[in-house]
Symmetry: C2
Subunit: 310 residues, 2 copies
């Protein structure tokens, strides 16, 4: 990240990857998109487009590629794959590496940081948690309903100069950013919301967050699941105050008939990130001796409900 104009690869050009990639490209950054199913369509349209609540960003002639070899070594690789695709890390990322290449994962849940560290070296890994509402509506077409913010952190290290440089890059692209000395704590904190709402939305029959909160019994399960996640996080020294629970519930209420990302995946018949959002947190919680009976049952139900061939 010492380059004046760093070469950036976007691996996983779904909604999240395309959105940040387009915003960065829009500021003149050298952004290379790795595409798969959308490659031909974007090549022939010759553009990618982000619709924002009040404006739009059009990237004319985006640099799109079908293989990481064509992109070659980069300064920064932004990873926005679904965690269900983490098995392709080695194949897709290795060709993008050189000395000092940074890997920024914008993926959900737990596990990606460690998998990237294991494969490519812990010293390369940064993480960003996206609080955003964005959908891919067609190849190269991204609809952003709520731009939200990104919380950045180093993997297992405090904020560094290079992290600040990445944050500055995103800020120049108009993204609201924050940085934390504790990426893992950020991840657990995000799970406090994702575990109950993403999970119960599926397990209770494919319902939006307002319907979850309209049931006193399910609202109690939201609280109880949040308390389990907080208890598990505490076992690792991440202290999330219990008042966080009420704050999360009261900020969810005005969201109305909101469809958590996992529910959208589920209803559209796409893979759900069951392992990174429920499986890995469950395994870590149990290993650390936390009592997480509801998380365990929710995971068992979700694993079965999202099975590909029944």
């Amino acid at each position: 990240m010492n380059s004046v104009n760093p070469k950036i690869a976007i691996v996983g050009s779904g909604a999240i990857g395309s959105y940040y990639g387009c915003r960065l490209a829009n500021t003149g950054a050298d952004v290379r998109f790795l595409l798969r199913s959308d490659l031909d369509a974007v090549r022939s349209s010759g553009r990618m487009r982000v619709q924002l609540p009040q404006s739009e960003i059009v990237v004319a002639a985006p640099q799109v590629y079908g293989t990481p070899e064509e992109i070659g070594p980069c300064d920064l690789v932004i990873i926005a794959l679904k965690t269900t695709a983490n098995g392709v890390f080695d194949k897709l990322i290795r060709p993008l590496l050189k000395e000092g290449t940074l890997l920024l994962t914008l993926q959900n849940g737990l596990g990606s940081d460690e998998q990237l560290a294991e494969l490519f070296g812990a010293e390369r890994v940064l993480g960003g948690l996206c609080f955003i509402c964005v959908n891919r509506t067609a190849p190269g077409e991204i609809l952003c309903i709520e731009p939200g913010a990104v919380a950045f952190g180093e993997f297992g290290r405090p904020i560094s100069e290079r992290l600040r440089a990445v944050v500055a890059l995103f800020e120049r692209a108009g993204v609201k950013c924050s940085a934390s000395d504790n990426l893992a704590e950020l991840r657990w904190k995000k799970l406090v919301w994702n575990v109950p709402f993403n999970g119960l939305a599926i397990a209770a029959g494919g319902i939006t967050t307002d319907k979850i909160l309209a049931s006193p019994e399910l609202e109690n399960q939201v609280r109880a699941l949040m308390a389990e996640v907080i208890e598990a996080a505490a076992k690792f020294g991440y202290v999330i105050p219990p008042a966080f629970i009420e704050k999360q519930i009261s900020s969810t209420r005005p969201m109305g008939p909101y469809r958590p990302s996992s529910l959208i995946d589920y209803l559209d018949g796409r893979e759900v990130e069951v392992e990174s959002i429920w499986g890995e947190p469950l395994r870590r919680a149990k290993k650390a001796g936390a009592a997480v009976p509801r998380l365990e049952m929710l995971y068992a139900l979700l694993k079965r409900l999202t099975m590909r061939s029944q």
Copy 2:
């Protein structure tokens, strides 16, 4: 039950009620069926029929009625309504009472004994737990796949002479019977199976018991839910040995793709007995101080999944 040929009413002539009613009528007992939607069809066909695994019972010209007033006071009232219909107890049962009328509920779960006792006097109430696989395939047509057995008990009292008389009546009708000094313990014991299997069959997406046991995670939840029910029962002094869990699981495995009764109701769009199988046990367990987090979550999910208008 002192009569030589007691007058028996069947309230709730679905699969269970019709099955035992026909078996009793087949031995010459004076059985009066209270019908609703099937009344005209059975009147015009002039028969009710039970298909057994190796034979069939045909009751020609069954005594069928549309109102309890037409039946009038009975010696024994056999109640086989869905527990979701318990709100009609007073209307349907009061006209069938005289001094000494016995009320035998063959209903599932917890709560019916107490509701009958509250309305009509605890001294009238007997219970029977049906371990049977039986379906109503058309008006007056009953298909019995597995005749199983009935376990009888007095409500809150040890085995009595009159209970023995009821058991004898069923035995003469070819029903395998047992009697217990502890009806409530029998009910909790039956819940050890019903709570996990009926519940997870619905919550895991409408799956049969073999699919539940094919998932190691769900099988673990079966065990954990069974342990919660056993813990709750223990709070009331009903001691169910932990070995009962393995016995239940290993007897379920050879049942193959079995659809628990609640799953059949759910898939057919009929009301599910959520309160008697999960709600009432949950409320009693919590009141008694048992830790039942999984039962609580399962109840919350089932209550929402079986909501009539979503």
